[in-house]
Amino acid sequence: MSPYRHSSFWGFIVFNIYVLVSGDGGNLTASEIPPLSSVVLSSAVFKPGLGSVLSLNLLSSFPEDLEISDYCSELLHIFGQRYVAYVNCLVPAARPVKVCQNCFSSYGSLTEIFSNISSDQVGPGNVSCRDSLLRSDRLMLVYELYENLKVLWEKSDCHNCITKGFQNLTSDTLHFMTILNQTLTCFEQYQQKNKTELCTNCKTDYKNLNVLYGGMEKNKTMCIDIEDAMNMTRRLWSKNFNCSFPREETVPVIAVSSFMLFLPIIFYLSSFLHSEQKKRKLIHPNRAKSYSSLMNIQDNRS
């Protein structure tokens, strides 16, 4: 009886505060403020929000057994820090895409702390943080946050470019990067001069790069960084420098195809003229001696 009352009471307070906070947020988003000032404002509004959370903490605390342990809150804190670090790394690496090569180490530490949180093993004080942090509520915030980044990581295929344990870039990737740099330097070198010169002089580099990329494509050892870099290089090569193959041999192709198209005409003409037309012998079936049917049909026709 009494614990039930307790909980409902706490629930009531939390609900009140929630309404307060969310009301603030609602006001903020609803009002149309120019983007620049919104940054300022939001930080201003954020503070009272933080304050209210603090005040909630001060105001009340859950009984011992429901509270998370210090160890777990420590883990949570570290998770937050690493999360922020990773996101901070990701955003500037969005364009041109360098998310794998720049941020793999911070992702590594993030996974490390998450695996600590989600591991079965009990920390000091005989507590496992997995249940209390990851799945004690509907929102499952920590889990969802981590899961989002994990999806991003998987989508970008970064694991193909990074060695096991997030130590370093793979040698393939490094090799690719060197060749890529070589090609780009070559581009830069000739860019000012003649475009056709660029096409002839950088061809070997570019071709090597293409071959390498083709091989990696086949082995499925590419990540988004490599794909994006290659796409950009290809676009430079074909669109900016216009080095694709020109359509040059229109005449021989037309000649050969019109010859081919001419053949059936000859064939049909010759078979029409020379082949003996197939004739069918008509057979007269035995019928009863009455011509009424034939006459009827002829009547019908006329």
């Binding site: 290809r234 193959f245 078979s271 197939k278 069918r280 009863a288």
Partner: protein, 744 residues
Amino acid sequence: MANITKKVSWSSRADESGATGEGTPLLNGSEQPRHSRQDSLRGRPKEIPHNEKLLSLKYESLDYDNIENQLFLEEERRMSHMGFRCLEISRWVVCGLIGFLTGLIACFIDIVVEELAGIKYQVVKENIEKFTEVGGLSISLILWAVFNSAFVMVGAIIVAYFEPIAAGSGIPQIKCYLNGVKIPRVVRLKTLVVKVGGVICSVVGGLAVGKEGPMIHSGAVVAAGVSQGRSTSLKRDFKIFEYFRRDTEKRDFVSAGAAAGVSAAFGAPVGGVLFSLEEGASFWNQMLTWRIFFASMISTFTLNFFLSIYHNKPGDLSNPGLINFGRFETESVAYNLYEIPLFIAMGAIGGLLGALFNVLNYWLTIFRIRYVHRPCLQVMEAMLVAAVTATVSFTMIYFSNDCQPLGPDHTEEYPLQLFCADGEYNSMATAFFNTPERSVRSLFHNQPGTYNPLTLGLFTLTYFFLACWTYGLAVSAGVFIPSLLIGAAWGRLFGILLASITTTGSTWAVPGKYALMGAAAQLGGIVRMTLSLTVIMVEATGNITYGLPIMLVLMTSKIVGDYFVEGLYDIHIKLQSVPFLHWEAPATSHWLTAREVMSSPVTCLNRIEKPAKLCGLILRSQLIVLLKHKVFVELARSRLTHRKLQLKDFRDAYPRFPPIQSIHVSQDERECMMDLMEFMNATPYTVPQETSLPRVFKLFRALGLRHLVVVDDENRVVGLVTRKDLARYHLGKHGLEELQLAQT
């Protein structure tokens, strides 16, 4: 001794050995001179060029009617209750086997085509890439053309020289078989082998064809072979399923085989059953439906299972048919009420284009029958078509400026870059430089914007004429996939245009959806199948939501198309001069009576009185067996221990009865008598002379008759109606017309 009556109508003269030899009467050679005198009186037989208004003597009816003679009754009496049970079980076993083997064949065709086509496209692709760089693309063009011609040459040679009946899709032939026409050699093992080899060659050879139609024929051959428990070609008799060695049982199994073929081709078991129902609808019972469904299911399951092993995913049963339309995702599936008129309009376009296709193909086929009838010419023609197909495809790809970026998941199997920027591919090449099945799938499922309208328009145009030109060549190949492809291309074009001219169109006019409707419309406009095609399309897309639109589209295209010309299969049946009985007698034929329809006089075998009263009916094939076994009354008297002829002896001779020339009847034996009492069917169906044509027609169609005896008031035989007597009336432009009989 009983009255012995025997009839030979001209219809049964049509054996393979030709009619002159067959003119020899069965027993007394004295009739021969009289016969020739008659001929000379009529003058020399008229010769005319082949046209559609002929009936060939080559075709006979199948004997669907049970011959209830004394032997039959005796055997039935001897058979225990258990025996009948076993028969029922063995029917199920046979159906299971049919499904299994059909699935295996489909699987074999699919794998071989995929491998060979893979090699071909890989080689050509590498060649093109090489020559794009250094120049000399015309050499790639020649290489491609030579590849195609070489494959097609092999396919055409085996068809033209070894088994001409295996040409085409085989659906018209199976349609005729289920209708009750005995097409010579249509369900033989040799046909199957040639068919399978031929279809592989023609698909790999890059012709505008599909491998789905031949699957139906293959299924039918498998069924006819398995159910007999022996192979006459291999001279092996397994001594099983002997009871099934007659036309009635065989027909049931053949319809199961056709269903299994459809089911393997499209992954549509229900569609297969309905196909058999639609094409062979006159003879049907519920138990048979259930068995056929079983065969279909087994067939699609077998294909699925073995393909999953081939794709290294054993147990993953997601390849139900040879053609896989792929799954339509949920958001693009939705269609709105206001789209239905658009679909109907597409149906009308499909009907028009289908009619155009059929008319063009009709003229082409007539030309082919008249002028391109020598096997070597046929092979050359097929090779030319293959070379031109490659040339046209190459030219289209070469001059196309439609470049699209390579997708992340590489839906294009053999992307050709040619003159596109690096990282892009030529969009025309996905349509042309690919097996037709893959092209259909990419038209259905690629994202909006993958093809630009000009590409689609040009593709539709060229592929339409190529497909029309290809159908009817001496290669075994189907018309389903090309029609689907043409339809999918213009349907997608329709969708794209719709999206661009309407303001909100880009949200609801998903090109893939319109591609599907276009494909249905085009296919419906060409083959004019209704019920089964709807179900096949619904099943192949795995999407029941599209049921209504597809049905409306097919209905419209059939109505519009029928206004101009018949379906492609019906045209080809007509051009082959097959005595095909349609669902109904021609409309204005009630004034025709049996007297006018029948053949007369009938050769009657009798001893006692003349003209004889009807006692029974005996078939030519039975007489031949009797003569072969020398069942003469005199011999039986002299040898008391003479073995009695059993039904088994007739079954052993089935289905290749020897021609009459191979039976030796000595001079003495010509004087002998034969007692036909036991062997004849004592209760044949008869009609009085005044019966109208539609009534006779109904009897034929519903009972699957082969002969119908016309008798007068005193039960004397005055004539005999056979299939050809009925099939010669048809409703033409000027009312009722009569087809002429000809020797082909």
